[in-house]
Amino acid sequence: MEDVIGVAASSASRKVYNNASSDDQIPEGLRVLVVDDDPTFLFTVEKMLKMWNYEVTTCTDSTVALSMLRENKGGFQIVMCDVHMPVMNGYKLLECISDLEIKIPVISYMNIFDLVVSADDKKDSVMKGIKHGACDYLIKPLHPEVIKHIWRYVVVKWKNSELEEFERSGNAMDANRRTAEDAVSDESWRSSKRRKEEEEEAEERDVDTSALKKPRVVWSENLHKQFVAAVNQLGIDKAVPKKILELMELMNVSGLTRENVASHLQKYRLYLKRRDGGSTQHHIGFNSPYMCPQEASFGHSSFDNLDIRSLAIPERDFVMPSAAIGRGMATLGDPSDADLVLHGHPTAIHHLPGEFLGASSPSGLDAMHCMDSSSVMMERVLQSRLRGQSLSGTGIQSPMGQLVHPNDIAGQVLERNLSVLNGRNAGYHSSPQSSSLVDYQMDEIVDLPGNAFPISTPADLPILQSTDVFVDGGRLEVKDPRGFTTSFETFSRLHQCRRQGYHEFNNVDLTFEASQHSNGVPQNVHCLPPVLSHQGFAYNEMMGEIRNVFTANKSTFRAENQLGTTRASSMRLTAGGIPEASCDNMVFARHVDQDVPMNIFKQQHERVEADDNEFDYDDYHYPSDDNHV
């Protein structure tokens, strides 16, 4: 009775499986293949799955199942199989499936009574299942609720593979193409992720047992707003994570842990501090310090000031920073560029007023929120940057602009930065889209470091991201249209920030580096957005990296220099860093794995050195960075 059912059903349910675009089906319409020798069970499971709008194909024979999988590579998105089957053992089936190189999650299950003696057996069986590549291991009888949530494995798998793709795409990716792809996948990821998040938030968070990293919390604009509202309600001094969390939960925010809140709070506090502290100097030194660095090393300090100030001072002082940046970056020579950049910042800051998020830069910020549009944002950021800076002939501008965006993307923190950046970006006109991604990253990174948005940094960061740009020649000339230079600027900004002791900056640096590393800038950028959107997975990674960077100020700096080096990891790093930066900055900082960042940076650094960068980032190598570390 068996196979017939399965085969018939499968042909009916088989569809073309399009990776990037099929998330619109999640969770509905997921194509499931169930393999079990027990027809009664199959029938039951099929019914259950159909109840949750899955498309089911059942099969009692493993060989038939395999052939079905083979025939239609995209036919199924998830496989469930029994491990105790007469013909082919479930484990074997698992192996065969992985041989087929189909990257779909497989859930194996078994009868509980098959476990012979004790709990140990159960554990062994489970381990065996996992070892053979199963995403999860369930016990019969299967509960409908469990069945309902198997789609999460698919999402995870998708995210993973997207990320892998990004990494692989590495350098020589066609920027535009990637952007487009990324945009699509980002969209899909974002939507699926969102959907997933929505669902998860509604129900108890059932963390994937598969090899998923703990999902990162993305501090979206709304979330941040709620956070800020909660904090304000409690009073900034009295705001403790626990109470904030309680308040936020009252606002129907779920899925946050105290830790998330705590880290975010820390970042927020830093941001506030920076903002308040910088405002005094805002008008003055903002520009000059910024400028200085350019000459020599972008006056790190000024950078910081810049950042702060830029935050506080809307646009005016930006000019300087941008100039500084511009100078430092590639074109360098034009103070005006720096100004431009700075301009970007001030505006951004302006927007930020007292808001952690400084969602002032509308475009950028909004973009930020939509993680997905990170790339877009990046571009915007970059653009704004670029505009701000009349980078002399360098593509920096675009990077800058982009940077701004990325920051936004990073999330709330980013928003702030973004606003700053956006302001800066104003100066930038031509921010190549690609660079925006980078910028975005950068920005994010920058923001991440802390509340004190190193606005400038963010912008810079994005630029860096377009490491591709860097590769071109170390100059800001962004390989990507984006304006590598922007990255550079971001980079310089980062440094500045770093100098100031911004941890955040560090993160930014990290991000920056990351971006740099990703020579295939477009990719990097893209990666980030998807990453960002996919919060959980990517972010974590990025954040981790960024943080690492954070700790390793020095390394970051160097890494930045290494713009040329395109590293997939960088990309990820950046991406991860940025988005997470907002939320996880705090956390990250805490968990900064100093060693890791250092290593990363060093590597990056080395790479950079290898690159024949006209851009002499070494100038940016602020000794002060060491202090930060």
């Binding site: 027990d38 009664t40 069970f41 039951t44 109840m51 009868n111 009574f113 009888p141 509960h143």
Partner: protein, 111 residues
């Protein structure tokens, strides 16, 4: 009236089955799966089960008739049977099969 009576009878029987341990929670879940779109879900599942078990029981009988009984095969059948019965919530059947399997392991033909 007639139908009410039947329904009452049905409910009573059902309760009895549960009380006596013939059925367990899994059965309830199956019932939950039944809805307007699938009005006869439970019936279908149970029918399937019966059909399958008839087949199994026949094979078991055959295996038992041999001398000595083929315990490996019996074990396999029981395993399957156990799976099916637990899927539909036939608790008692499930426990019987477990017992049966124990005997198989011991080589206890009498059991």
């Amino acid at each position: 009236m007639g139908s009410n009576q039947l329904k009452t009878q049905l409910a009573t029987m059902r309760d009895a089955l549960f009380k006596q341990g013939f059925l367990d929670e899994q059965f309830i879940q199956l019932e939950e799966l039944q809805d307007d779109a699938n009005p006869n879900f439970v019936e279908e599942v149970v029918t399937l089960f019966f059909r399958d078990s008839v087949r199994l029981i026949n094979s078991v009988e055959q295996a038992l008739e041999k001398n000595p009984p083929e315990f490996d095969k019996l074990d396999k059948y029981m395993h399957q049977f156990k799976g099916s019965s637990s899927s539909i919530g036939a608790a008692k059947v499930k426990s019987e099969t477990s017992l049966f399997r124990e005997y198989c392991k011991q080589g206890n033909a009498e059991g």
